[in-house]
């Protein structure tokens, strides 16, 4: 174990190095690029022994990874925003084919208008594509989840690709102190990739076939079941990780000062830190507030939500996303848990940080106020003007 001052992308690259992927396909896009640059350097200097492939687009990046995974190789690729959308077809392909690829996504706004800054509309707009989706908070969690993701994805009961999301710039390009595990520990944690879902000369297979109405729905159900089942694997993985590395993230969600909390803010990704600070501040003033960080959005942590929100008065969902013509997608997902479980609490949505708009301490404090006093369900935070003119 060593400590280093790294950006979120650098840290993720270190995690990838430790996971020893055998085939890596790369295509640049801001703010993902520095990850693939670091990896290129690692391959040049032989600290990572891997087939590095300079592909011609993101569709090719993922298609190439699928091909390699179909041979039983451990694979990695990374993208962001336009790139994630450009490979949308392959997202469904990889998950439906149950290829346990790990991909980093640098969360970035999607055009139009063009914008390179961090919001989460890219990955959230592809929430239904059958991938496990993780959102990480800082550089350390980035590195750790690079490793954990392979452990989850490649579990034969899961066998599903994992997308690890890092907030663009505020996480990908921010440098901070990170512990880098040793290769020995990493190898103890992550066994080599083994699967039945591959070609082999001894046992030839036909892959990626068609399935008509007769059997198709069963394949889709199995896919659904595997992701639901991954909840357990995610927890086991985190426990094993804690055992070896002494760090733990608590599974699908991570609560903060939830005991007896009346007003709970739900967050994802790198904004969580600031929200924790505000929670502390308000708690000091005697306000019963708490926070629930969603680490995984698929599988969706329904049980955790019920447990966390059961006795709250109001819950807010803070997200860098809007599903135009409705509300934020995370909010929609959270509300569904509430409706199904007949929970009686008010829910509010706070759309913030679109196109990289800064989210300030004052914004978060105001959000907690809104939870306490009530008001509109869906709120755009930090608009420079009133919404009606």
């Amino acid at each position: 174990m060593t400590k280093a001052f790294l950006s979120g992308n650098d840290a993720f690259a270190e995690g990838v190095r430790l996971a020893r992927p055998q085939v890596i396909s790369i295509y640049p896009i801001t703010p993902q690029t520095t990850v693939v640059e670091r990896i290129s350097e690692m391959v040049e200097d032989s600290s990572l022994k891997s087939e590095l492939i300079h592909v011609e687009s993101e569709h090719s990046a993922l298609s190439c990874a699928i091909g390699a995974s179909a041979m039983g190789a451990r694979t990695f690729t990374a993208t962001s925003s336009q790139g994630l959308l450009y490979m949308a077809e392959c997202l469904h392909y990889a998950s439906g084919g149950r290829f346990p690829i790990v991909m980093m996504n640098a969360n970035r706004s999607t055009a139009l208008p063009w914008n390179i800054y961090g919001d989460q509309r890219d990955s959230l707009s592809q929430l239904d594509c059958g991938w496990i989706q993780v959102y990480v908070e800082d550089a350390q969690e980035s590195l750790d989840m690079a490793l954990q993701s392979y452990h989850i994805a490649e579990n034969p009961l899961v066998s599903t690709p994992v997308m690890v999301n890092l907030d663009g710039f505020v996480l990908t390009h921010t440098y901070e102190t990170v512990e880098i595990p040793s290769q020995t520990d990493a190898d103890r944690f992550l066994p080599p990739f083994q699967t039945e879902n591959k070609m082999s000369l001894d046992n030839p297979k036909n892959l990626a076939f068609s399935v008509g109405p007769d059997n198709n729905m069963e394949f889709k159900y199995l896919q659904h079941k595997a992701i639901l089942g991954s909840k357990r694997i995610i927890e086991e993985t985190d426990a094993k990780f804690a055992e070896i590395f002494g760090r733990s993230y608590g599974g699908l969600t991570q609560g903060y000062r939830l005991d007896d909390a009346d007003y709970i803010l739900i967050t994802l990704g790198s904004i969580t830190g600031l929200c924790r600070e505000v929670v502390d501040e308000l708690r000091e003033r005697g306000e019963k507030v708490g926070l629930l960080k969603l680490r995984f959005l698929r599988p969706f942590p329904s049980d955790d939500l019920v447990a966390a929100l059961g006795s709250a008065k109001a819950v807010g969902v803070l997200e860098k996303d809007i599903s135009f013509g409705y509300e934020g997608t995370v909010y929609t997902n959270v509300n569904s848990v509430i409706a199904k479980n007949g929970l009686r609490l008010e829910t509010y949505n706070f759309i913030a940080g679109l196109g990289g708009r800064d989210i300030s301490r004052e914004n978060i404090t105001a959000i907690f106020r809104h939870l306490q006093t009530g008001g509109q369900h869906v709120n755009f935070i930090g608009l420079g003007m009133t919404i009606d003119d």
């Binding site: 800054y117 505020v170 440098y175 901070e176 102190t177």
Partner: protein, 177 residues
């Protein structure tokens, strides 16, 4: 928490300086963040970089508004309006060959970083010198940590000379005061 904003032009190494500073904090057993600003402007355009330094982990990633230090790698980037961005006891540190222009402002400190760099590396690359200067006027980072940290970010050939720059700029203020 100490908050710092760097002003430079693309290519002047403002962000490298911020990273060295961050890495030095780690050596000092402090916590820090270093992050760039991003815009459409290219090499040559004015840019900014940022540091947050604290004795405990920094989990607030929002923008820096009021600064403890504003550091200008080039005096052409400075304008007096920027003094409004300083905290009450904040300091603006300016690389300039004409310190007299800033003499009347108690919140401003100056150093001719270009000169120091020119003497040592024959290039007017002011970023390392500004780090030395910062170490000198503030207690938030130590010269030795900066020296150690800068080795990580600079090629071996440049490292030795940069140690010199750091030392000389550090001494500059020690002499002044």
């Amino acid at each position: 928490m100490i908050e710092i904003r760097w002003h430079g032009r693309g290519g002047q190494g403002a962000f490298t300086a911020a990273k060295i500073l961050g890495a030095a904090s780690l050596i000092d057993n402090k916590f820090s963040l270093a992050f760039p600003s991003f815009g459409p402007e290219r090499r040559g355009a004015p840019i900014q970089a940022f540091n947050k330094i604290d004795t405990q982990a920094i989990i607030n990633r929002s923008e820096i508004k009021a600064c403890d230090y504003l550091i200008f790698l080039d005096d052409s980037l400075f304008s007096f309006d920027y003094l409004n961005d300083l905290k009450d006891d904040g300091i603006a540190l300016i690389n300039t060959a004409t310190p007299e222009k800033f003499r009347d402002f108690s919140q401003i400190q100056t150093i001719d970083a270009n000169l120091i760099a020119l003497n040592i590396i024959k290039k007017p690359l002011s970023n390392t010198a500004m780090l030395g200067a910062l170490a000198s006027i503030s207690d938030d980072v130590s010269l030795s940590s900066l020296q150690q940290a800068s080795n990580q970010y600079l090629s071996a050939t440049h490292a030795a000379k940069n140690q010199l720059i750091l030392q000389e700029s550090y001494d500059h203020f020690k002499e002044v005061y």
